[in-house]
Structures are given as C-alpha cells and as structure tokens.
C-alpha cells in the first residue's frame, strides 16, 4: 500500500473515525491531508450544540432501552461530530451493558449519556462514573478490571445507586477500588489494546502511547496519537465492517435516511442488537460478523438502502466514495458495464466494501 496520502488512505481514516462519509467529505479530507483532517475530526464542531438540542427533543421522557437505541442510531446517522459517537459506541461495547437486562426506563439513556460525556475525555473519570452507574451495575455488576468484592455493599434501588458501608465486606470502597484499578499497569494496557483493536485492527499501538495514557488517562489524546502513528496505515482493510457500519457507509454517501426502528430491526437480524451486545465482552466482531446468512442479509439490506436513494451519484463518484476505486483490476473491469443503482448494489456485495 502506498504511504503517500491518497484517496484510499483518506477513506481509511474516515471509515475508522465516522459511520460514513459523503463524496464531498472524502474529497475535503484528500485535499486537507491527514494532519488537518485528524484535527477536524477531534474538534467539537460549531453546530454540535444545536444538534444536541435537536436530539434532546427526540428522547421520550421514560425512554426504554430500545427507544434509546433508536435515538442513538439517529445520532450516528446525523451527528456533525461522528468521532464522538463512534467513541461512545466503542466504550459502550467495552463495558458491554445489555439493554435487555436494564428494563427500568431512562437508565440506558443515562448510561449512554454518561459514556458520551467521557468518550473523548478522561478514562479515570469515566471508570468512576460507570462504577456508580445503575444500568451498568444492574446488567453486569462492577465494571471490568475492578475488584468485585469492593462492591459488596452496593445496591441499586429504583434506578439509584446506594453504597452501604455496614453491609460492605471487602477491604476497599468502590471509589478506592477504582483508584487501585487505575494504578495497575494492566488497566492502561488493556484500554490501549482495545482502542488499538478499534482503530488499528491487528496492529499494536506504539508503546509510548500506553505510557502516556497510564499517566493522564486522556482518551482523546490516545486516539489522536494512534491516528497519527505509522501503524494506523497498516490497518487498511484489516477489519470487517459491523452491520451498523455496513448500513451507514451506504446510507450516508447515498443521502438516504433510514427510519431508526427499521434500522434497529435490520441490524439485529445481522447480529448487532443496539443497545444489547451478547455478553459483557461486547460484540465479538471481525470475521464473526460474516456467515452465509448475514452475507445474504447484508445484500438484501444494501438493496433496500440503495432503492431509497433518490439521486444515485455518477459511476466514478460511487466507485470513489464506496471503495475509493481500490479493487483488483479484474474486479473493476467486471463493473465496467454497470451504472446507477445496479453499480451501487454490485459494489456493496464486493469483499472490498465489507472490509474496513
């Protein structure tokens, strides 16, 4: 793979950091180069406040986990700050809180909001907040890495967190346990490895980033460091799109709006119930996303999305935006006779489009 900035690498950067991108956004990234693009992805965009206000109106007062999943899907499709949503989804998967185990209204919304608040901020603050988050405790008990015994006096009643020192059996309070967890080198290593799995696929993040993270727990800085590292380019097409990425990587460039409830059902059928990962470890991801059934299902979903596109882009725009025109020559030749929606469907069925 060429190491000079080109369309393929611009696409790679936007795939890892957003849920999908338009032709204009891709061309902008190509023109701006990696440094400027990374800065823009990390910065809070000017229209973020207005967007948050418009989304707040969509959240039902007693939001069920399913409602919260649908509002979240709307954000992922429409947010002007996609890296924030992508990081929120990463942390959601990290803590693995299953909506099906949180029947109380409002709690899942609270959980996702908490993760969003810290998603690009400080991990130590996030871990402490999750350790006292009713949804997380109801679904999974204490968060990963933290001493479970420290939570023996903790109860969750009517969606409220209570710590009763009298019923407590361990040597540490929950706050102490979180602090102790943070002081252990394994914690920073685990977090950096998982963030690396998201952004780099199989490559390993530079050791210097782990050292820095163990001192400041700065998630935004860690992500920026990985995106700017040489290893970042090694992850090119070394991962498989999740059903969510597959759907939005088509819908966004084609300008298609998907009803969130419908999208939620379609993604569930392909193995990604939002917000309901299969275990505390989150979705297994990678090759597990694809089996004979889900590949057929993705093809059906792609056809549905493409059928909703009102103005299909021209040939070259489709090839550039969906696969950055990067496929073996015989594959591109096989597409030469196709145009419009037929071309879009053929591209969506290609392995190059399944890869991320």
């Amino acid at each position: 793979m060429p190491q000079t900035w080109n369309l393929a690498l611009a696409g790679h950067l936007l795939r890892r950091t957003t849920f999908g991108f338009t032709s204009a956004q891709l061309q902008q990234a190509l023109a701006d180069g990696p440094a400027k693009t990374i800065n823009r992805l990390l910065a809070v965009p000017p229209d973020q406040v207005a967007f948050e206000q418009s989304v707040a109106a969509l959240i039902p007062p007693e939001a069920t986990s399913q409602d919260s999943g649908q509002v979240w899907l709307y954000r992922m499709r429409n947010s002007p700050y996609p890296l924030l949503e992508k990081a929120t989804l990463f942390w959601y998967n990290f803590f693995g809180v299953a909506g099906s185990r949180v029947p109380q209204p409002g709690l899942m919304e609270q959980h996702i909001t908490l993760l969003r608040k810290h998603a690009l901020g400080r991990f130590d603050q996030m871990l402490l907040a999750v350790a006292q988050d009713p949804a997380a405790l109801l679904a999974n008990g204490p968060p990963p890495l933290v001493d479970r015994e420290a939570f023996s006096g903790v109860t969750v009643l009517r969606g409220e967190y209570h710590f009763d020192p009298a019923r407590h059996r361990g040597n540490l309070s929950p706050e102490d346990a979180v602090r102790k967890t943070l002081s252990e080198p394994a914690t920073a290593q685990t977090v950096v490895r998982r963030v690396g799995r998201w952004l780099l696929a199989d490559a390993t993040p530079p050791a210097s980033l782990t050292e820095a993270f163990a001192h400041d727990y700065d998630i935004g800085k860690l992500i920026a460091g990985i995106l700017r590292s040489d290893q970042f380019l090694d992850g090119y097409r070394q991962d498989i799109k999740s059903p969510l990425e597959f759907a939005l990587n088509l819908a966004i460039p084609l300008g298609v709006t998907l009803p969130p409830a419908e999208l939620q059902a379609d993604l569930s059928a392909l193995g990604q119930r939002i917000p309901d990962p299969p275990s505390r470890d989150g979705w297994p991801g990678g090759r597990r996303w694809l089996n004979h059934y889900t590949i057929v299902g993705r093809s059906h979903l792609a056809a549905d999305i493409i059928a909703k596109a009102e103005h299909p882009p021209d040939r070259q725009t489709l090839l550039n935006t969906l696969i950055q025109n990067d496929a073996p020559r015989e594959v591109l030749q096989s597409l030469a006779q196709l145009d419009g929606n037929e071309l879009a469907k053929a591209i969506a069925n290609l392995p190059e489009f399944q890869l991320s």
Binding site: Q238, P278, H292, P328
Partner: protein, 387 residues
C-alpha cells in the same frame, strides 16, 4: 461416551466443517425444536381419561373416553390432535411423559428462561441452542448450524456469545435471485479479503440455491396457520441444504403466549392444539413425501404444565410437569415413562420424573451425535427414544 457416539460426534464436526457448496451432505441429522408459549396444559393434551381424579379436578374442562383420540394405557390425545394421533399410530411420534425439573418455576419469564438457557444460573445470557451455535459454527467458512424461524424477537434459546444465529421470517430472507455478482470471485491479496471473498461466494450460491428451492418445489399441503407456515419455511430451508442442523420454531407468540389459558380454556386450547396438530402433521407428511423425515427429529416444549384443578373461570393456573412430543422418521414411537400420578401432587401440579435436560441430551447425543455435557453441564443421560 461410547465409541459410536464418539464417531457420530466427529462426523458431525467433519460435516459441519466440510459444509460448503461443493458437496451438499444429504444424510445429516436435523433437529427441529418447537416452543409452545404460555404453558401448555399437558393434562388436557395427553389425557388420563379413565382416572377418576382427573374427572373430579376438571369439572368443566374434562374430556371423556368418547371424546379423546385413544392411544392405549388409559390415555388419549385431545380430540383436536387428530393428525398427531395418526402419527402416533404410525410409530412416528412418541410422548415423553412427566417432563420438568426440580422445583419448577411457575413464572412465565423465569420458567421460559429455565427451559431456554438450560442453566440453573439466572445470570446466564446464552441459550442452549446458542451454545451449540458457538461450539459448532465454523467462523472460517461462514457456516452456522442453528436458526430461529418465526416472526417474534429471537427467543433466548438461540442467544449466543459469538456466533450470529439467523432469525428467518420466511425462506425469501435467505434467497438471492441473481447469481454471484461480478467481481466477487476474483483473487484477493490479503488473507482477510480472501476469507470474505470465499465466504461471499458460498453465501451467494446458498442464496441462489434457496431461490431455486422456492421456485421449483411442488406446493405442499400446509394449512394457512402461522405455525404451519413456519414449518413450511423450515422444510424449504432443509431442502436448500444451507448447512443448518437445528431449527427453533414457536407457536403462541411472545410472552406470556397463547397457551396461557387462565379462563375459558376449552375453546382456546382446542384452537391452539388444532393448529399444533395440523401443522406438525403437514410438516411430517411433506418431509416424508421427499424421504426427508428420517433425517428429522421434532421436539416440543413449553415452560410448564397447568394446575390439575381447574379454577372458577373455566381455566387453569401455572403448573409443573407436562409431556414432550418427539416426532420423526426414526423415533421409537409410543409412550415413554409413566403418566405422572394425580394422587401425588406438588401444590396442585403434576410432579416431573424426567428432567428436560435428559430430553435435550437425547436430541443432542442420541440424535445429532454431539456430546451434551459441554452444552447442558454434566449428568444428563439421553433417554431411550431413538430407533
């Protein structure tokens, strides 16, 4: 484990691994699990019509010797189970009596969860069939052995940790009318891209095969009932040979479900059992027509039976033990185990004498040939039900 089950286990693995479009294996055993939602009244399904205690407890719901489909031993099927009575007489249907587990839960959600997870832990997030999928899905080839066929959210029985278990509403969900799109089949230069290309080729040809089955198959005689339509879909999926070995289907919708008859049970129960019997009979007849019934074992379950005594509203409450039906070309046929005694009840419910996990173990070990212990935990021996 005997040498025979060991060999069967290894051949199941080999078959699962070798399942590609190249050489469809037509001899593989298939399990179909049918969930009856709401707690089916086993006592008015397989009826001890000669037992005075039955007649006295069921003051208005009782069915008499003149009404039931007699199957011997003083027992009769509910009058609406005509098709299933025929299968019983043909030796293609067995009744495992008195199935349950110690201290059965009488709450729909917890009761259903117990049968679906087959785990004593309320924290368990996977279902017993989901664990089979995790163990036998072949991630490198994209093969998945388990599917749910139905229109309700996927029941917990198929919840898995890693494998993605399909929820199929109709055969078209797996069908692709077009052939393999241009360009999928080309060589790729990374291992991951090769994996995606290879899996896509087999996936697209499976979708194409499914479309062929939908187009070409004769129109078998299924009644226009939701359960019958699910079975029709299962039969089409079996014919398309997609590598699926286990199907879960349901009758009665999501919790609490249509078998939950607390009032005016007689008419409602008759309608549900008619749908059950007509659908099971149509499925077995369809498969028998194509000589596929010998490959299939159908097993029913419900979260609990009902109370022996009917309530003041001509209905019944949540009970405990109930019968499980096994149907297929290679079941032993007949009655398995005794009808639970009506003189020895637990809080007005029949006591189980056969653990449902032994019935599951029969389906896994004696039928599919895969060891049951990794799925169900140790200690559940198959019952003698397969010929």
């Amino acid at each position: 484990m005997t040498r025979r089950t060991f060999l069967a286990a290894s051949s199941f693995l080999a078959r699962a691994a070798a399942q590609t479009a190249v050489k469809p294996d037509r001899d593989g055993a298939i399990l179909v699990v049918l969930q009856l939602a709401g707690g089916n009244d086993g006592l008015n399904t397989v009826i001890p019509y000669e037992d005075d205690l039955y007649g006295r407890a069921r003051t208005t719901l009782r069915l008499t010797g003149n009404q039931v489909q007699k199957i011997g031993s003083g027992l009769g099927f509910h009058p609406e189970l005509r098709g299933m009575a025929r299968l019983f007489n043909e030796g293609r249907l067995s009744v495992v009596q008195g199935v349950g587990y110690p201290n059965m839960h009488r709450d729909h959600i917890i009761g259903m969860q117990s049968w679906q997870t087959a785990s004593p832990s309320p924290q368990e997030r996977t279902g017993w069939l989901g664990r089979v999928a995790d163990r036998y899905a072949d991630a490198d080839r994209g093969n998945v052995p388990v599917a749910f066929v139905g229109r309700i959210p996927a029941p917990m029985a198929i919840h898995s940790r890693e494998a993605i278990v399909p929820t199929i509403r109709e055969a078209n969900d797996w069908a692709l009318s077009a052939g393999i799109d241009p360009g999928i089949d080309a060589r790729r230069d990374t291992a991951l891209a090769e994996f995606v290309a290879h899996t896509s080729v087999t996936a697209f040809s499976s979708g194409h095969r499914m479309a062929g089955v939908i187009k070409s198959s004769r129109t078998p005689d299924y009644p226009d009932l939701p359960l019958a339509q699910s079975f029709h879909t299962v039969a089409q999926l079996i014919r398309a040979d997609l590598g699926l070995r286990i199907f879960l289907v349901e009758q009665g919708g999501a919790s609490p479900g249509e078998f939950d008859n607390h009032a005016n049970q007689a008419g409602n129960h008759a309608v549900s059992l008619r749908e059950l019997s007509q659908s099971v009979a149509a499925f077995c007849d369809d498969l028998a027509h194509d000589r596929l019934l010998d490959r299939v074992l159908l097993m029913t379950f419900s979260e609990f039976g009902r109370t022996v005594t009917e309530n003041g509203r001509h209905g019944t409450g949540h009970g405990a033990a109930a019968p499980v039906f096994l149907a297929g070309g290679r079941v032993k046929g007949g009655l398995i185990g005794q009808h639970p005694s009506l003189a020895d009840l637990d809080n007005d419910a029949l006591k189980p004498h056969t653990d449902f996990r032994s019935v599951y173990a029969t389906a896994l070990e004696a039928w599919l040939g895969i060891p049951a212990a990794p799925i169900l935990g140790p200690g559940f021996t198959p019952i003698d039900a397969i010929a």
